[in-house]
Amino acid sequence: MEMAETNTQATRREPDVELVKTYWRSVGERLLRDRVTVGVALILAVMVSASLLAPWLAPHDPMAGSVANRLKPVGTTGHLLGTDETGRDMLSRILYGGRLSLLCGLTPVILATLIGGFIGVIAGVAGGVVNALLMRLMDVLYAFPSVLLAVAICGVLGAGITNTILSLTIVFVPPIVRITESLTTQVRNLDFVEAARAAGASHLELIRFQVIANILGPLFVYATSLVSISIILASGLSFLGLGVVPPAAEWGLMLNALRQAIWVDPVLAALPGVAILVTSMCFNLLSDGLRTAMDTRLKA
């Protein structure tokens, strides 16, 4: 009965599930069934709360050392994880160190997601010249390897927590912008956004009601995968002496301080790195789990 167009008309498959279930609830259920992700989330919860509760949990003052107690091995009574090169309790320092390491690792990703997400959505919704301009700007930042950029900025601005966070934020903004822009562009070209425009929605209303809800999931997954890199980079900056300044407890800094102790007690010297490794690995696995549970492909 129809003309040439007929064969291009795909008949849409009817949904086989008739359950009324919200998207986020089904994601949550899938996550809970994934044992690795649940385990990893638990470990992270323990680590975060342990470092938050460090003042109450730590057996010793993380700053108080004694020459007599230098470099006690792991398992020493009174110092479960031994003592560092100035006799400070390692367990207490690792607990306290978690505060700065997590702060310096998480904050840049959160900031970059907010800033980069904002820029990316603007670029995606605006399109045209605005898009081209913003994305070319990001290309320039992309031309620097991330470690190099972070080290250069921190090196110029000087060591310190604020500068660490600032430099890492600058490092993470371009990738976030890129991913947000491509997600937004994808969503923007879908019919339902056009339908909303046809209803008279302004750019702002489009972003608020149509775009955000549809890019939040994938963006969140991507951001969690950056946390792992961010924690490594932040501790790396401290390791180089460009991040957190002594005598504060921070994992990368501790690793550097114990470098010479490697000839005396290699286990002790490597210990702070274990904390970095576990945290970064947990965030990687968490990100993998979230990605699987959310099936980040846009349904369209």
């Binding site: 129809e2 003309m3 291009t8 056009e194 008279g200 809800a213 349904k299 369209a300």
Partner: protein
């Protein structure tokens, strides 16, 4: 009005010019897309998606637009909604020009003119509940949350979906027909006067299609709507339309009263289209060859009459001169056709005789 209207913000707008003034009048609408040519730009080819088309929609009537895919039907719909900006042309809505200092604003136009999209799934936000999807246009036009929800529930009822059952569902939990009803409900939430239906039933099964068409007919009556019905399905267009516009490669080649177009098509393209429609009546068979080949590339439309590359009657004049829309003299006076054969002075050997070859 069976739907209670909760606020004046979206209450139906009164008729202004009286029944004889066209609801929509389109003059010289044009959109050319410039293809990108890499970094340096410029010099790119131009797609003449919609090339100088004019038509009008009478109040309470349905205008059908037919044509093959790529002929500019959907672009026309999007131009009317101002989803893409036209390069040229004027749109007059119930006597008021759209845009400009004294005309109706875009926002107001979109209040009075709404659109139903072809892809019922893609046109619904997958992360939103049905009631919110329907309420969204009302919300952005200033209706309160509760009122908008009430109105959405009323409209669900009106399009034949029980609010208690559907309001809190997500689009993927609905069937194609149900989703298209939701799309219609959303288009109606602002109490528009004109609805553009862009292949709105094309993706549906035949039985579901019939139900939705009946729903559309009922709604038109109840809400005194006018429709622009875009489709490639001639049988459906014939069934629902009062007037028909035939498009080919971004241009209108024939327009007129539905009955007149289907009884006495004057343009060879229209005739070819109609001959492709199967019929059970041996009396109405035609000897006109059905269309062969694909439409030429709209990037480089042929000179002269755009149809000449596929037309059985093409002559020298067709390759040189673009025919203008002119009265097709037979039957109703507003039957227009753009063909040299319909113009006695065109120089075509069959000029003037084409009327005799009734399909």
């Amino acid at each position: 009005m069976s739907t209670p209207v909760a606020s004046t913000a979206i209450s139906p707008r009164p008729d202004r010019g009286g029944p004889m003034q066209p609801l929509l009048n389109v003059e010289g609408l044009r959109k050319h897309f410039r293809l990108k040519r890499g970094l340096l730009g410029g010099g790119g080819a131009v797609v003449r998606a919609v090339d100088d088309i004019s038509f009008s929609v009478s109040k309470g009537h349905t205008l059908g637009i037919v044509g093959e895919s790529g002929c500019g039907k959907s672009t026309t719909a999007r131009l009317l909604m101002h989803l893409i900006e036209p390069d040229a042309g004027t749109v007059v809505f119930d006597g008021d020009p759209v845009g400009g200092p004294r005309g109706v604003s875009l926002r107001e136009l979109r209040r009075q003119m709404q659109m139903v999209f072809q892809d019922s799934y893609a046109s619904l936000n997958p992360r939103a509940q049905i009631a919110d999807i329907i309420a969204f246009p009302a919300r952005i036009h200033g209706l309160g949350a509760r009122d908008a929800r009430d109105r959405a529930a009323g409209l669900l009822e009106q399009v034949g979906l029980r609010p208690g059952q559907f309001a809190r569902r997500y689009p993927h939990e609905l069937s194609g027909g149900q989703r298209q009803r939701v799309n219609i409900a959303r288009a109606l939430v602002l109490s528009p006067r004109l609805l553009i239906l862009d292949e709105a039933v094309s993706a549906l099964d035949k039985s579901v299609e019939a139900q939705v068409l009946n729903l559309l007919a009922d709604l038109k009556q109840q809400l005194s709507l006018s429709y622009i019905f875009i489709s490639h399905d001639l049988n459906v267009v014939r069934h629902v339309s009062d007037r028909v516009l035939v498009m080919y490669l971004g241009q209108v080649v024939e327009s007129g009263d539905t009955r007149s177009i289907f009884r006495t098509p004057r343009h060879p393209y229209t005739r070819a289209l109609l001959s492709a429609v199967p019929t059970t009546d041996p009396e109405r068979r035609t000897a006109v060859a059905p269309l062969t080949g694909d439409p030429p590339n709209p990037i480089n439309p042929p000179d002269g009459c755009r149809f000449h590359t596929r037309c059985a009657f093409a002559e020298a004049v067709c390759r040189k001169l673009m025919p203008r829309m002119a009265s097709a003299d037979s039957g109703a006076g507003d039957h227009l056709v753009a063909c040299h054969m319909a113009n006695a002075g065109s120089g075509h050997s069959q000029a003037g005789s084409a009327g005799g070859m009734s399909a």
